[in-house]
Amino acid sequence: MRWGRVRAVLRKELLELVGNRGLLASLCALPAIMTVVPWGIAWSYAYDPNDVAVREIARYYHVLQQGVLPGASLVEATARQWLGLFLVTPMFLPVLISSQAVAGEKEKRTIEPLLASPASGAEILLGKSLAAVIPATLITWLFFALFSVGMDFIARPLLHRLVVPDATWLFAMVVLAPLLALLGNAIAVAISARLSDPRLTQQLAALCVMPGVGLGVTQLVRFSELGISFYAALAVAVAIVDAGVLALAARLFDRERILTRWG
């Protein structure tokens, strides 16, 4: 493994990303939604925290706390349980970037000079993967920070303390988010190596976020408590799947197949 080549691929991919305002905007769209929507939900609870309807909702979800207004309890529950849905972000963002990794180069006819270079498949894939995982993780962290500031801004007057980040959120952001980004990237790269249409690659790879969406929606709707131990177990499982999918992607990265098979 020559790191100079990995750096060259990484630098080039980041330069292309920075130069593509449309892609940058679409990368920010999902996390922006994932940030603004919980603010809205929390604000609706905090607006009249002792409202009858708010109390009923809190009772239904079993989140009522002793000595705390129902709205405040709901704001805290929303802040904590939004994590499952928010984790879709680091998994989805690399799909947008990595679907261009190989299929996009095929479409733009830039793949042959790249494959004719001495860079190995592993070097190319690593460079491209880092160029997807690093921005995806940074954008996730940026919007997580905004999410935290907004939620605490709403929750603090009611609870007189910060609700996020807590240990679970911190663990998820520091450990799980990069692992999920790696997973989304690996799936997109593996599909990208076999297809020549980046749009189709993106659509297929986007399916990989469905289990994450399912987890998030289930958690939010049921307000089921998934604590740090659950996310730790999830991190181990994702790390194992990451290794498998990356190994598969490396196997699928076959110069001859990429050059001679289209579709």
């Binding site: 020559r2 750096r7 330069l15 733009k108 000079p113 790249l114 004719a116 001495p118 001679t260």
Partner: protein, 309 residues
């Protein structure tokens, strides 16, 4: 002089489709070698094999001593490839495009900067090096792609249609650059449909149509099956039969007092002249007609219908 490229019964199949079969040829170090053939003849497949991009299914090939089937990275480091499409990153500047490949080929930064400046100036791109490649004209893109193929100072360079889409001035600059590279001792394989260009640059050519149809020096190809126009004092028709009796004569066509003779072997011209004189012909002039490479090429490939198949 040793062989830079050696092919022995090289073949490539994609499933049931045979792209190349039994290709045997040698290219000497420092030579500019022309690879001709119609679309689909296997030129790109052969080039890809020789650049270590795809593996042969039959036979063997060595480039600079590297076995193409087993020395991928070392082989790719030693050769340069200009692909049919320039394949540039439109969002990156010309400079960034080249620096990216300098990194991929592990060219030290100082050397990369020196070479970039040299080639960008040579091809007249220096002033626009910081502009996005997407804003470049077709000719500029082609020149940038050529610079990219040369950046790592490869000893063997494969150029696929290097002057395609270039204006005459730019095409001339590219041809001069190719000649300069040849003078530096680089081995160049030129895939082209531009037969005039091949005639100007190449000493040896191979005509390919899945297998090698012809492999010779350009001059020999043109000389082979030569043609002479013999101007006579009298009507040429009666001398046709006499001319056809000479070994090596393929065809004799009279047109007034001119007898046009096609020969399989140009060495038969003195015999032909002697036979005609012996038959009583009074010869005013014997004018050898040099055939264009295009005529030879089209003759080798057969009719247009056959070529398309």
């Amino acid at each position: 002089m040793s062989a830079a490229i050696e092919l022995e019964q090289l073949g490539k199949r994609f499933g049931a489709f045979t792209a190349l079969s039994g290709v045997t040829l040698q290219v000497q170090e420092g030579e500019v070698f022309g690879l001709l053939g119609p679309n689909g003849a296997g030129k790109t497949t052969l080039t890809r094999i020789l650049c270590g991009l795809i593996a042969p299914t039959d036979g063997s090939a060595r480039v600079l001593g590297f076995d193409v089937a087993s020395s991928g990275e070392a082989l790719r480091s030693a050769v340069g490839l200009l692909t049919e499409q320039p394949g540039l990153y439109d969002r990156l500047s010309g400079w960034e495009n080249l620096m990216y490949f300098a990194g991929l080929y592990s060219v030290p930064r100082a050397a990369a900067v020196e070479r970039l400046e040299r080639y960008l100036r040579l091809f007249g791109l220096w002033e626009r090096r910081l502009e996005r490649a997407g804003t470049y004209s077709k000719g500029m893109r082609q020149k940038l792609a050529i610079a990219r193929a040369l950046l790592h100072a490869p000893r063997v360079i494969f150029l696929d249609e290097p002057t395609s889409g270039l204006d005459p001035q730019a095409a001339r600059a590219v041809r001069d650059a190719v000649a300069e590279l040849a003078r530096e001792g680089r081995t160049i394989v030129l895939c082209s449909h531009n037969l005039d260009e091949v005639e100007r640059l190449c000493e040896n050519v191979a005509v390919l149509k899945r297998s090698v149809l012809a492999l010779a020096k350009v001059a020999e190809l043109r000389r082979g099956r030569a043609q002479v126009d013999i101007a006579l004092q009298a009507d040429a028709a009666p001398l046709c039969e006499q001319a056809m009796r000479v070994p090596g004569v393929a065809k004799a066509l009279p047109t007034g007092s001119t007898l046009t003779v096609q020969l399989d072997d140009p060495a038969a011209i003195p015999e032909l002249v002697a036979a005609l004189v012996q038959a009583g012909a009074r010869i005013c002039a014997v004018v050898p007609q040099s055939r264009a490479l295009e005529d030879v090429y089209l003759e080798l490939l057969g009719t247009p219908g056959e070529r398309a198949s």
